[in-house]
Subunit: 201 residues, 2 copies
């Protein structure tokens, strides 16, 4: 949109909003207008909230989670099973697992996966700190909850190799039919894995 129509401030806001995932130029304009229309109820609280997060958010030095305190809420929670470390690629994966309330242990965020194509090596990820945590006394299981992609699996193998001499159990998430999923729509790889891992009914 040309500078003639709206002030530079609104222009800049639209430009910034369009950089958010899920928002394109058109939806960014819609979102900006929505904010302007609901100034008291949405725009002002959002300004406060963003400023607060921007000021207070930090990366947990123990696990790599983002939170407003360090160590994060999960690492600081004494009720969590400190003997179990669940390894995830991104903070979003950690949040997804927490929503499922699937694990009672702690987490470790790698910050990505190994990738020869993108030139991402072990030193670019939080792998050294994971190996260090895994070797600490009291840790008995590492759950590899990385994505079922080539890069994810490469990373899982790399970590498993480096944990060979450490006295911990290494497990990975099960492959199978998603709950509520229809067989007809599943790929052959998943179906084969689900059949192979079939369990007594």
């Amino acid at each position: 949109m040309s500078k003639r129509v709206v002030g530079a401030e609104i222009e800049r806001l639209i430009q910034l909003m369009s950089k958010l995932p899920g928002l394109g130029p058109r939806s960014a304009r819609r979102a900006a207008l929505h904010l302007i229309k609901h100034r008291e109820k949405l725009l002002s609280p959002l300004v406060t909230s963003l400023a607060e997060v921007s000021e207070r958010v930090q990366i947990c030095t123990n696990c790599g989670n983002v939170d407003t305190k360090d160590p994060c809420t999960i690492c600081a929670d004494l009720n969590r099973d400190q003997s179990q470390i669940c390894v995830v690629e991104e903070v979003a994966d950690l949040w997804a697992l927490e929503r499922a309330a699937a694990l009672k242990g702690t987490y470790h965020v790698l910050g990505g996966t190994l990738s020869a194509l993108d030139g991402i090596g072990p030193e670019d990820l939080n792998i050294a700190s994971l190996l260090q945590r895994a070797a600490a006394p009291g840790v008995s299981e590492i759950v590899l909850a990385v994505n079922a992609t080539v890069d994810g699996q490469t990373t899982a193998h790399y970590i498993t190799d480096h944990l060979e001499n450490v006295d911990v159990k290494v497990s990975r998430l099960a492959h199978g039919v998603p709950v509520g999923g229809e067989l007809d729509y599943l790929d052959e790889g998943t179906l084969a894995a689900a059949v192979k891992a079939r369990r007594p009914f």
Copy 2:
């Protein structure tokens, strides 16, 4: 997500973001994480930009457009044709017409349409100020650029009725085949209107 996982500040940010049009709870979480990840390059500028807009944005007392000055950039632009007023429902419509650079005149934002169902009467819209502007000396044309919906057309009729005694030409946008559109996918009403309004080739 339970309070256990992330601090209340991040929780609140996700909740606010999910109120934006086009963002649900899942995409709001993704957007919040994206902001946290790109703190310097995106989060901080966005805080500044939102605060600036929140502080400086105003509604143009002349036409109802939103801008950082009053009268707005368009109303204050002496190069625009002050004899033409284009009536739109929402600011988003004004922006869309400006992107098309279709008009050289000024605008008037109604702030909605008449709607018996939603109990929206003429006094809830910027209609009185429109009639006042239309009656001012020098104004020669009112372009009704309201949506082609029942409520939009009702509003157009209402305005036309009230402009009967005012010496201005009232026009409306043409109906027809959208540029680049395929006839096969068009509804009968549009096709019939396009045939009826056919022009020499």
